[in-house]
């Protein structure tokens, strides 16, 4: 069974804003029945050009329904400029997080929002040059690039969790890896000031304290920074993490990803051998 947060469960069992707005200003439909989830989003603006009403209809699992419900709640009262800034991470965050394998539900929300805004403003739905990478789920290179950038993804598995690309026949996995390599190379601008070792350690400690420990402690675990050698971050796991077989996955997918996001994209995490 998936480990959904109480907020996901609550939004699934009591979804807000189900239906279709009458005479909408913007409307969009993303996904398909073959893909296993689909979302129809519609909204109406008030006289100040703020979103007065937003409604959804969703075919999909509990997290798809909860993400749609969350999205409609979040964008109400926003201007379209503000709404355009809502990311899939924000949707997942509003729900207290989604399981990795379900992140694509939040991405579907973001896509529907973007297309509905495009539908209102009349700008082209597809950028020229956009190309389908995953034939099974109809995912384009632009979708994949954005998911990588917005969520700091580093593996093909991550991309599949967030966009579904590569989750069908698997033929496009190599192409996805190429996109990851390209985007991650671009994401390292030369202009970023190099941190001194002390600055780096401080930032790592700060990220651990504020962003990482609370989640681990929630599951009865903890983490300790042992050393930083260049870009190698050496840590020791404590509490439940120390005996958890999945802690390697947590370190790689959660701790390392967070540190790369918050401190430096070049960091590599290593666990000290007990």
């Amino acid at each position: 069974m998936w480990e959904y947060t109480d907020k996901v469960r609550e939004h699934f069992l009591n979804p807000r804003n189900v239906g279709e707005v009458e005479q909408p200003d913007g409307v969009a439909e993303v996904g398909s029945i073959a893909c296993g989830d689909a979302l129809k989003l519609s909204f109406k603006l008030d006289e100040n050009k703020r979103i007065k009403e937003a409604k959804f209809k969703t075919f999909g699992c509990a997290s798809a329904i909860a993400s749609s419900s969350a999205l409609t709640e979040m964008i109400k009262g926003m201007t379209l400029e503000e709404a355009a800034q809502v990311s899939n991470k924000d949707i997942a965050g509003y729900l207290g997080g989604l399981p990795d394998e379900k992140m694509h539900c939040s991405v579907m929300g973001k896509e529907a929002l973007e297309k509905a805004i495009e539908n209102y403003s009349g700008s082209p739905a597809k950028e020229p040059g956009e190309r389908i990478i995953c034939e099974c789920f109809g995912v384009t290179d632009r979708d994949i690039e954005r998911a990588i950038r917005d969520n700091n993804l580093s593996t093909v598995e991550d991309v599949t969790n967030y966009t579904k690309a590569g989750g069908g026949c698997g033929n496009c996995q190599e192409a996805i890896q190429d996109i990851i390599d390209r985007v991650r190379a671009e994401a390292r601008p030369a202009g970023v000031p190099k941190l001194t070792n002390i600055q780096k350690i401080r930032k790592i400690e700060e990220a651990l304290e504020k962003e990482i420990r609370p989640s681990l402690k929630h599951d009865g675990g903890d983490i300790e920074l042992v050393d930083v050698i260049g870009n190698r971050v050496i840590v020791a796991t404590r509490g439940a993490c120390a005996t958890c077989k999945a802690s390697g996955i947590t370190l790689k997918h959660f701790v390392e990803a967070k540190l790369r996001d918050l401190v430096s994209p070049d960091l590599n995490i290593e666990e000290v051998v007990p």
Partner: protein
């Protein structure tokens, strides 16, 4: 809130029967001896294992020496296939079906990476296997045929006894994964040509972690777990005595309950199925309704997704499972439904109900009462349902 559990997921696992638990308990406490020991303290445990072996054999019409205790159905499947390959090293071809349990399916994929070839026989729309296809798939290189007796998702029964005849005529060892069939269908190994058969304890009210492999007398066998002389050298490892005793007791009970599976359980299953199909539009049964286990019903509710149905049923304590992509942990719906060509609109909204002798009429009535509203609620959120219902209104 003290909610009652309505457990309709017995193809996933079953409750341990109270009689089974009771039979097991002494073997966790005072009767902890090793059955291989030379003292009578261990010897009394060996005696009990002999009894359990007889009980398992009796359920399927086998001789006790044809029964090997294993740790689970998956181990039995692995042991059977690998034994057939090990004893015929010159042969490299396996024949199986597209709808097998992962214990066979993933094993074949794994073996394919080690130089073996395998053919997966297709099934018809109703999940039935065409034996002509089997005949055509066989080659002089075929080392083993493995076909499940009954499908875990749809309950559809394969003609394994006829298939085993075809195999015997050609001298090819025949294995069946009968994990879902044992205890639900009458099985008599004296009257068929099946060489190896896997069964699993936790599907018939024994605990998890115990299974058995039947190996017909005279079948060449090469052990999968190599170690001590246990199981007459066919499966190393100290016997899991409490669970073996439990499996024996469970098989004895299953023998007594077999008639009930085909009367009480079948009637409740049919009642549930008929009521749901009549109360809920755009729903249909997946798999043949005749050639089917008496306890299983796989129903698709079109235009909605199975996970949502399961979670809403969960709010009422109703347990079932789904062939939807979201619940399978992959992004595609069940390989069984896809092999049957079930359309995506149906496959994503499939729910499997699987009953046991412990289910009651009240429980079935409760599900019949709750489910239509759940389906309607989810369809009310589905963008596809709107257009369908509008189209129906204008008809």
């Amino acid at each position: 809130m003290n909610m009652k559990t309505v457990y309709l997921d017995n193809n996933a696992t079953t409750r341990v029967a109270p009689e089974v638990l009771e039979a097991m308990l002494p073997y966790f406490s005072e009767l902890y001896g090793n059955p291989s020991s030379m003292h009578s303290f261990g010897g009394q445990v060996a005696q009990k294992i002999r009894e359990a072996r007889e009980q398992v054999a009796a359920l399927i019409g086998a001789s006790p020496e044809e029964i090997i205790f294993t740790s689970c159905g998956t181990e039995s499947d692995n042991a059977a296939i690998r034994s057939a390959l090990a004893t015929q090293p010159e042969k490299r071809h396996i024949v199986t079906s597209r709808v097998e349990h992962p214990a066979i399916k993933s094993l074949c994929l794994n073996l394919a990476g080690q130089g073996y070839r395998f053919t997966e026989l297709a099934v018809e729309k109703n999940g039935i296997l065409d034996l002509e296809q089997l005949v055509k798939s066989l080659t002089p290189d075929t080392a083993v045929i493995s076909l499940m007796w009954a499908n875990n998702e749809t309950g559809v029964i394969f003609p394994v006894e006829e298939a085993a005849e075809i195999a015997r005529e050609r001298g090819i060892p025949f294995h069946t994964d009968a994990v879902q069939a044992v205890g639900k269908l009458p099985i008599d190994m004296k009257k068929n040509a099946i060489d190896m058969l896997s069964l699993s304890g936790h599907k018939l009210h024994a605990p998890k972690g115990i299974g058995s492999l039947y190996v017909r007398k005279g079948t060449r066998f090469s052990p999968f777990l190599i170690g001590g002389h246990q199981e007459r050298g066919r499966r190393g490892g100290t016997e899991n005595t409490p669970s073996i005793v439990g499996l024996g007791k469970a098989c004895e009970l299953a023998g007594r309950h077999l008639a009930m599976e085909n009367t009480t359980v079948r009637r409740l299953r049919d009642k549930l199925e008929t009521a749901l199909l009549s109360h809920i539009p755009k729903s249909r049964v997946n798999g043949d309704t005749e050639q089917r286990l008496p306890n299983t019903s796989n129903i698709s509710f079109e235009f909605i997704e199975g996970e949502g149905i399961l979670l809403m049923m969960n709010e009422y304590g109703i347990c079932a499972s789904s062939g939807s992509a979201c619940t399978s942990g992959s992004l595609q719906p069940s390989h069984v439904l896809r092999a049957m060509g079930v359309p995506f609109t149906m496959a994503h909204g499939s729910i499997r109900f699987s009953l046991s002798v412990y289910n009651t009429e009240e429980e079935i009535d409760f599900v019949i009462q709750k489910l239509p509203a759940i389906i309607e609620r989810l369809r009310g959120m589905s963008p596809y349902w709107t257009s369908v219902s509008q189209a129906c209104e204008t008809e």
